[in-house]
Symmetry: C4
Subunit: 222 residues, 4 copies
């Protein structure tokens, strides 16, 4: 299979290995989150188990938020790569920037777990800044793949809409980052909305595509 | 291979990547268990090695229980995905719920290791609750795949029986969870029985299928 | 590719996923070894870097021994699976026993790093016992695959010799385990010999096969 | 697919599994770097978050340097294996030497994070020595594959140039290692240049190939 592959198919194989490496990073980052939970368990030898859970609910909240964050990133990465046909040298670095933000994610999650009670606004803002950077990374991947024609020819229109979703994502996360300094509950509510929308990237992009096609039709019929 | 794939085959590739990501999570969670063992090693600098092993057998027991738990989950996940043909956006989240429980597993294992001696009933109940949640997640995966026709057409009958095994699993783990608060030895015995049954998911589902077919025949012959 | 596969090919796909899961466990266990090294770095804030390296060479020795151990196991696992054609439910558990020993390996490595100076004989014996158990696991995998005809038909003779190498391995590691209690240098020398032989499993098994064929010929010519 | 493979194709499958195992090691090593960051977070419970970031910028710098280092190694490993056709027993060990250096990388990164302020020259030299060893490992992989004809026949000329880049890499990293003891800023500047060149291994090797072809033409025309 590999031996008689032409120059073009060899590049496909590169895409597969880039996906495999990225999958590895995603799955490790998501699993490392539990270490922060276990770390919390150790110092309280005197405390009883039930009291421990009552006093330390923040690490659990942070664990679940961190888990959902990385899972959403993986689902979106997976969705974007479904349309990517080939890769080049620079694309490795654009993807590498996203992976950098993913491997970092357990760190703001740990900050959230330890400082939510005492310095909630700053802790949430740091976590929110991470979202903003992930948004930039996701948009960069799409923009690069779109401009350099790394995607399947027949899905350019749809991929443009995928790219657009991450553009909206950048603006949205920047706004919510600023709101973190004003009100924690409002920021959390807005992040939950972000989660729901990007949990289903295909549906979101399809919605944008339909709206675009509708507008085009209206223009034509005018 | 990927370039000339039709819409339908593209989905198959998605299944493969979902499996790869899940495999990554399983293999990391199962390997992280050893960190808890090593953690135990550090504080006792004064103690001799043999005494250390005599006084601290709980982490080893917890390690082996945690290992078998995640291995059984992987074997069952593997078995279920053998019949799954395609995936959709929501299915990622149903599978994500199972992965959440898997990545969490090292945490109740660490609780078991540290609190088995002092607060055995509650420690075991927390570990047992984890089983109950895994049971719900496994059933959800099967039920979703069955209802949305994500499975191979010719294995619907068998897959129904697989789904049934996890339904029994939910009820069973709920009962044993309650027994944890009454008697530790009985609960451990019942969990061992659970291990043996779900260690061989194919054999268990086949047994259910045969019983079902036998009943159908009896009805026809009546 | 997956959709039109017959019953027989579906099993092959199972082998691939078992390999992927095992590869994940091997690669994580081998990378976790570095955490023990970093752990050693933390407490000595007052000490200068060069002095630190002079006083703490044992963790480095243990790291390299642990690394080579897991790498040899992976190379042998890889080699054995080259001849395995299909898997069944029980085989997952035989392989799972090997993975249990692999995930455990960072633990005896940590013991070696911390107790080599103070309780060398016992620390080495614990590490050596790990080898003995890995030997049993490797032999079990081969024996099960051989007896249940899970291997390629045309390589039964060669696979028998592979099985034989692990049988020798069990006896050898048992003997060296006992020697650990008598003399550390002799035991280390014998383990190094073990490393060299199992570093090249194909060459070792080929040697045994040739000797066997030679004997058969001699018998025929008699 | 696997069942009817000839002896030659079986070896290709070995290459794939070696790549998968290596990818696992790379992706885990790169993700473990964050643990060092989180470790830094724990002791400062009294300090406020913003002050913490102001006082502890070295772990972040070390994290990013470590991340880029391993990413560059992966990109180069990936690039080299694009031309490798088959593997043999000894090649596993040559590749294993590279993996040893990769799994070690989080350790010098941790040293950099903790000792950059107090013992900058020695900390940087240790990190630089790691580069030198990685250079030797990368060159060994290429030299072995080239000499044993493990590469695709039609890319021998290009692969020779790839091999040459790592030869230059060994000499360069040795020189910068020595400069570490003289001037930290100069060494950092030279390492940044190294990063930029090896970030795009294909372009670097292509440049060398063109220069070589130009020279050959000049000789012919003489």
């Amino acid at each position: 299979m590999k031996s008689n592959q032409a120059n073009n198919e060899s590049r496909l194989s590169e895409t597969t290995r880039l996906e495999a490496f990225s999958d590895g990073v995603f799955s490790i980052a998501i699993t490392l989150l539990v270490l922060e939970l276990i770390q919390f368990l150790h110092p309280q030898n005197g405390e009883s188990l039930l009291k421990f859970f009552l006093h330390h609910w923040e690490p659990f909240l942070a664990f679940i938020i961190g888990f959902i964050t990385i899972l959403i990133c993986w689902i979106n990465h997976h969705h974007v790569f479904d349309y990517i046909d080939k890769v080049d040298g620079k694309f490795m670095w654009v993807n590498g920037f996203l992976l950098l933000m993913i491997t970092l994610t357990p760190f703001p999650t740990a900050i959230l777990a330890e400082f939510l009670k005492t310095e909630g606004k700053i802790a949430l803002a740091i976590f929110g800044f991470n979202y903003f950077m992930i948004g930039i990374a996701a948009y960069s991947i799409c923009a690069y793949a779109y401009n350099k024609y790394l995607i399947k020819e027949d899905s350019r229109d749809f991929f443009y809409c995928i790219k657009l979703t991450y553009w909206y994502g950048i603006i949205y996360t920047l706004l919510v980052f600023l709101i973190c300094f004003i009100s924690i509950p409002v920021a959390i509510f807005l992040y939950m909305f972000l989660f729901i929308v990007f949990a289903f990237p295909k549906e979101f992009a399809t919605m944008l595509l339909r709206r675009k096609q509708k507008k085009t039709k209206e223009k034509v019929s005018e």
